[in-house]
């Protein structure tokens, strides 16, 4: 018989749920294993001790002392909940109010052609500034390469090192993991 089965039979016996067939099986097994029989005997003794030990009762005045300690805070919690809810509502309303105010301020201005012309000029000025910055960067890099041609060589060397090192790592680490 498997060890798990014996454990199951012993548990059933202690829980008073052992069938007649199970009991016969367990008895036969315990006869063959005196060490296990002794252990099961001790388990039964502990089981009986626990079953026959009554629950302890709380000391007198326990209820009064407990009730005295109960927080009278249920109503306060309710008010706190309402307050926090209102706070969150207000927090959500603040940006909406801000947007509404901005819209009210802008709507009359949007109706004027000068406003659109001004906006268009601002966009053009921004694009112009971005173009100037980009040109400066490209021409600066070109001048640098022209003055320092060895820079290209260094960049190529670094790329080579990265590729070779990547291959080494791949061979040493990842392929080893796969095996």
């Amino acid at each position: 018989m498997e060890h798990e089965e014996i454990i199951g039979l012993m548990m059933d016996a202690l829980d008073g749920e052992l069938s007649a067939a199970g009991e016969a099986e367990l008895v036969a097994h315990l006869r063959a294993r005196p060490d296990l029989a002794a252990e099961f005997g001790r388990m039964q003794a502990v089981d009986r001790l626990l079953r026959e030990t009554p629950a302890v009762t709380p000391p007198p005045g326990f209820v009064q002392r407990t009730v005295r300690r109960l927080p009278a805070a249920t109503r306060r919690h309710l008010w706190m909940g309402v307050f926090v809810y209102a706070l969150f509502m207000a927090a959500g309303l603040i940006p909406l109010v801000g947007l509404g105010w901005a819209a009210v301020q802008l709507v009359p201005a949007l109706g004027q052609p000068a406003m659109w012309a001004g906006l268009w000029q601002a966009v053009l000025a921004l694009l112009n500034a971005a173009g100037v910055i980009l040109r400066a960067l490209v021409s600066g890099a070109g001048e640098l390469v022209a003055e320092q041609p060895q820079l290209i060589g260094w960049l190529l060397l670094m790329a080579l090192v990265v590729v070779v090192w990547g291959g080494v790592v791949n061979r040493l680490v990842f392929q080893q993991e796969r095996t």
Binding site: E52, P58, V63
Partner: protein, 194 residues
């Protein structure tokens, strides 16, 4: 839970402390017994039982009426006791240390009307055996023996699976049997079983 208790529960949910007091009166025994069995100390047991009721009162809105109220309450109590035991262990009062062998040396055995029963040799013996168990095994044993909960109910209370409970109970029973053998408890056990 009978109809009267359901009414008290409903009133307590609305913040009625008197109604909750009636629930405390109805469930004080199981809650205190569980705390005492877990903590092995009357003072701490009272404190823990009170705290469990306070937690239950403040969390009544989370109680699911489809569950047994007693199971929910015992779950709060045992979880609180386990927290206490862990804190106690952190402050070097390990529960894994063997308890003093003689009842007279057991700590916190105050004289009182109920202390006679608590002080009995059988109670001490039981507490000695329970103290040999890790807290989760002890919790399962207490719920099984003093509350007659099924494996399913214990699993629900301890938020685990039935197979885990079966395994813990078997190991706990075996560990206690071993303790009776090692600590000479078997000799003390014998008179209580005849």
């Amino acid at each position: 839970m009978n109809h009267e208790e359901e009414v008290w529960l409903e009133q307590a949910r609305r913040g009625d402390r008197v109604a909750f007091g009636k629930l405390v009166e109805a469930y004080q025994g199981p809650v205190y017994n569980l705390a005492y069995r877990m903590l092995n100390n009357r003072g701490e047991a009272e404190e823990a039982a009170q705290e469990a009721f306070i937690r239950a009162f403040t969390r009544l809105e989370t109680y699911d009426p489809s569950r047994k109220f007693s199971t929910w309450l015992l779950s709060i109590t045992s979880n609180y006791c386990i927290d206490l035991i862990r804190k106690r262990r952190a402050t070097l009062l390990s529960i894994d240390e063997p308890l003093p062998p003689h009842p007279a040396l057991m700590s916190d055995r105050a004289d009182g009307p109920e202390s006679q029963a608590v002080n009995s040799e059988r109670q001490v013996l039981v507490q000695q055996l329970l103290a040999t168990l890790p807290e989760d095994y002890r919790q399962a044993v207490i719920l099984r023996y003093w509350y007659d909960l099924s494996y399913e109910e214990i699993a629900e209370t301890m938020d685990t699976t039935v197979s885990a409970i079966k395994s813990r109970l078997f190991r706990a029973r075996r560990q206690m049997a071993e303790a009776t053998n090692e600590n000479g408890v078997a000799a003390q056990l014998q008179p209580h079983l005849n």
